[in-house]
C-alpha cells in the first residue's frame, strides 16, 4: 500500500476515534450535551484537519526513507505528530482565548483524545510500516 493511502487511512481513523473517545469520556463525566459535541468534532475534524493528512503523508515519506523498523517509524511519527497536535490546539486556544489554553479542561481533553486516537490509528496500521521504501532502483 502506498504512503498516500496509508496516511489517509491513519488520518481518517484518527478523526473518527478522536470524536468517539471525546464523546465517550464526556458521557462518563455526565456531560450529555458535551458528548453530542463529538458529532461536531467528527465533521469539523474532517474539514479543518484535512491539511494534517498531507503533513502526515509527507512525514511518512520521510521516515520510510530511513533505516528504522516498524516500531521505530511508528514511534517517530507518533512523537512528531503528537507535538504538532499539541502545538495546533495551543495555537487555536491562543487565538480564541488569548492565553495558553491547553490548561482549559475541554481543550486539554481534546488534545489528549486526539493524541490517543493518533497512537491507536498508527498501531492499527502498523503492518504498513514494516517495508523499507527504496529511493533508488
Amino acid at each position: 500500500m502506498s504512503t498516500s493511502v496509508t496516511s489517509f487511512k491513519i488520518w481518517a481513523i484518527t478523526v473518527c476515534l478522536n470524536a468517539f473517545l471525546f464523546g465517550l469520556i464526556e458521557l462518563f463525566l455526565g456531560n450529555i450535551w458535551a458528548a453530542m459535541g463529538s458529532v461536531i468534532i467528527l465533521v469539523v475534524g474532517y474539514i479543518i484537519g484535512f491539511p494534517f493528512w498531507l503533513l502526515m503523508w509527507l512525514l511518512m515519506e520521510v521516515i520510510m526513507a530511513f533505516p528504522y523498523t516498524a516500531i521505530g517509524r511508528i514511534a517517530w511519527l507518533a512523537g512528531i505528530l503528537a507535538i504538532l497536535v499539541a502545538l495546533s490546539y495551543a495555537a487555536a486556544g491562543w487565538i480564541t482565548t488569548g492565553h495558553f489554553a491547553l490548561s482549559e479542561p475541554r481543550l486539554g481533553l481534546l488534545t489528549g483524545t486526539t493524541i490517543a486516537a493518533l497512537i491507536l490509528a498508527l498501531y492499527w496500521n502498523r503492518k504498513a510500516f514494516g517495508k523499507e521504501k527504496k529511493l533508488s532502483p
Partner: protein, 533 residues
C-alpha cells in the same frame, strides 16, 4: 540485546533523574548530578570514546563549563555547557573530526530520538507470546466493555439507589486520582517525558549516519583532481564564473583567464583597502580625541558592522579564488602575493575596528555588544590566519572550517570563565565620574551584580534625578517582580525591587539550585540586612 535493554533503562533512569533534580529549580548543583549520570552512561554505552583524544579534550572543556555553572551561573556558561555536552555526544557516538559534522550528527540524534528510543524494544522475542495474549485480551474486551458502558449509563438514569452508589464510588475514584495527581501532576509527567526525551537525545545514537559517512571522504590537504568538462560545467561555482567571464571561462586557457581575473581583482581591492587603511591610520591610530563628540557614535556603530562585513566578505573572495585547481596553477605566484597582501591589509583593518571599539568603551563604558565585537575580531584574526595557511599550504575549505570551529569552541569555553555582568558593572561603576552611567542597562544585569549596584545606590539616585529633570519620569510604568508598579526612571526603587525579587525567588529554591553566585549574593543581603524602604 543486553546493551539494548541497558540503553532503554539508562534513558528512563536519566529521565527520572532529570525530573527529580530540575523540577522547579534553576541550574546549579543539580547540573553536576545529571551531568555525572549522562557522562557515565555515554562512556559505558560507547566504550571506544574513552580512548579518543578529542573526547578527552572536550571533556576537560566541558568540566570547566560545568564548574562555571556552579560558580558564575551565567547564561554564557550554560550555553557553553550545553554546547560542549552535545559535542561530546557527537564525538563519542560517531566518528568525526569536525565540530560542524559532529553537530549535524547530534541534530540527527535529536530529530530521530523517538524512533531510536522505540527501536530499543524491538527484538523482544521472549515477550511475543505474552504480547499476543494481551492483544487477544484487548480485542475480546472491547465489545463487552462498550456494552457495559452503555447499560451502566441506562441503569444510572433508571435506578436512583444505583445512582447514589455510583456517585459514592465516583467520589472515591476522584479522591484517589486527586491524591495521585497531587504527587504526579500532569505538568510533572510532561516534565518527566521531556527528561526522557532529553536523555534519549544524548544517549541514543541515531541509525542515520549521514554526516559521519559524509565526513569520511574529506581531507585537510587539497589534492589536484582532473575532472571532465561536463563535470566542471555542472558545478555551481562554474555558473557564476561563466556569467562573469563569458567565453573566456571555456577552452584550454580557462584556468589562465581565471588567474588573470583574480590578479586584477586582488590588485584593485588591495589599492582600495590601502586607501582606507591609510585614512584609518592617520585619523584613528594616533592622537585621536575620543572624548570629543565628533561623530563617534555613528563612526563606531555604522563603521564597525560594515567593516566586519567587509572582512568576512574578503575571506569569502579568497576562498572563491582558491577553491580548486588554481591552487596548483604554475603561474599563480602574483595571485598568491595579492591574496597575502589582502590578508595583511584586512588584519590592519581589524586593528582599526578594534581601536574604534576601544574608544567607544573608553567613552561610554562596557556593554555586551562592545565585548562581543572584541571576541568577533579575535575570531576574524584566527580566520584570516587560517585563510593564509590554507593558501600557503594548499589546504581544503574543510580544514579551514574545522580549525575555525575548534577555535570558536575554545573561545566559548574560555569566555565562560569570566562573569561578564559583574565585570561590566564594576568597570562602569568604577568610572562613573568619567563615563555616563547607563542605569537602565545596569539594572538588567544578572543577580550577582546586585550587591555591587546596591553599594552604588547613590549613583543610581543621582542618575535618577538627572533623567527626571529632563522629563516627568512617570510617563510610563514598568512592573517590578514583586508586583508593585515602578516608573521607568525610578532606578533606586527598581534596584530595591530587584533585591526583593531575588530574596523571594531564592526562598522557593532548594539545595539543588545552589550555586556560588546566588549564594554569595544571598549572603551579602543577609549580612547587610538594611531595609531601604
Amino acid at each position: 540485546m543486553r546493551k539494548q535493554i541497558s540503553q532503554s533503562l539508562l534513558v528512563i533512569a536519566g529521565g527520572i533523574l532529570f525530573s527529580l533534580v530540575f523540577w522547579q529549580e534553576k541550574l546549579g548543583i543539580n547540573t553536576v548530578l545529571f551531568d555525572a549520570f549522562i557522562l557515565a552512561a555515554i562512556f559505558y554505552l560507547y566504550a571506544n570514546a574513552r580512548q579518543s583524544a578529542v573526547v578527552r579534550w572536550l571533556l576537560i572543556g566541558h568540566l570547566i563549563c560545568l564548574a562555571m555553572i556552579v560558580w558564575h551561573n551565567t547564561m554564557l556558561s550554560k550555553i557553553a555547557f550545553a554546547t560542549t555536552l552535545l559535542l561530546i555526544v557527537g564525538f563519542a557516538e560517531y566518528i568525526h573530526r569536525s565540530v560542524w559534522f559532529a553537530g549535524g550528527s547530534v541534530l540527527l540524534n535529536i530529530v530521530f530520538c523517538f524512533a531510536s528510543f522505540a527501536e530499543q524494544f524491538k527484538h523482544r522475542k521472549t515477550g511475543s507470546k505474552k504480547r499476543k495474549g494481551l492483544s487477544k485480551f484487548i480485542r475480546f474486551a472491547i465489545f463487552p466493555l462498550l456494552l457495559l458502558a452503555l447499560f451502566f449509563i441506562i441503569y444510572l438514569s433508571a435506578n436512583s439507589v444505583f445512582q447514589v452508589m455510583a456517585t459514592r464510588m465516583e467520589l472515591y475514584v476522584a479522591k484517589f486520582f486527586n491524591a495521585l495527581f497531587g504527587v504526579f501532576s500532569p505538568q510533572r509527567l510532561l516534565f518527566l517525558a521531556f527528561g526522557i526525551y532529553v536523555t534519549g537525545c544524548l544517549l541514543l545514537r541515531s541509525k542515520v549516519n549521514y554526516f559521519s559517512a559524509n565526513e569520511t571522504g574529506r581531507t585537510d590537504t587539497l589534492t589536484r583532481t582532473r575532472i571532465s568538462w561536463k563535470q566542471r560545467t555542472q558545478k555551481t561555482s562554474y555558473v557564476f564564473i561563466e556569467a562573469v567571464m563569458g567565453r573566456f571561462s571555456k577552452g584550454m586557457l580557462a584556468l589562465k583567464n581565471e588567474n588573470t581575473i583574480g590578479i586584477i581583482s586582488l590588485l584593485l581591492l588591495n589599492v582600495l583597502l590601502l586607501m582606507i587603511n591609510c585614512i584609518d591610520i592617520s585619523y584613528l591610530w594616533f592622537d585621536f580625541d575620543y572624548m570629543g563628540d565628533v561623530f563617534l557614535y555613528k563612526m563606531v556603530h555604522d563603521g564597525t558592522e560594515l567593516l566586519i562585513l567587509s572582512i568576512v566578505l574578503a575571506m569569502l573572495v579568497l576562498l572563491f579564488f582558491f577553491k580548486g585547481n588554481l591552487n596548483f596553477y604554475r603561474r599563480n605566484k602574483w595571485l598568491r602575493y595579492g591574496a597575502y597582501a589582502w590578508i595583511v591589509q584586512n588584519a590592519v583593518l581589524v586593528i582599526s575596528v578594534l581601536l574604534r571599539d576601544y574608544y567607544y568603551i573608553a567613552r561610554y563604558g562596557l556593554a555586551y555588544k562592545r565585548i562581543g565585537v572584541l571576541f568577533f575580531l579575535f575570531m576574524v584574526l584566527i580566520g584570516l590566519s587560517t585563510v593564509f595557511f590554507k593558501i600557503w599550504k594548499q589546504r581544503t575549505s574543510y580544514f579551514l572550517f574545522r580549525i575555525n570551529a575548534w577555535a570558536g569552541v575554545i573561545l566559548l569555553v574560555l569566555a565562560s570563565t569570566i562573569h561578564w555582568d559583574e565585570f561590566i558593572a564594576s568597570y562602569n561603576l568604577q568610572r562613573k565620574d568619567r563615563v555616563p552611567l547607563d542605569a537602565a542597562f545596569l539594572l538588567t544585569l544578572s543577580d550577582k551584580t546586585l550587591p555591587l549596584l546596591e553599594a552604588n545606590l547613590d549613583a543610581f539616585k543621582k542618575a535618577q534625578l538627572k533623567v527626571q529633570k529632563g522629563s516627568s519620569g512617570f510617563n510610563s510604568d514598568s512592573w517590578s517582580g514583586s508586583g508593585t508598579r515602578i516608573c521607568d526612571t525610578c532606578f533606586a526603587e527598581q534596584l530595591l525591587a530587584r533585591k526583593d525579587l531575588f530574596i523571594q525567588q531564592q526562598s522557593h529554591l532548594s539545595w539543588l539550585s545552589w550555586n556560588y553566585a546566588d549564594a554569595s549574593t544571598a549572603r551579602y543581603f543577609r549580612n547587610n540586612n538594611v531595609n531601604h524602604h
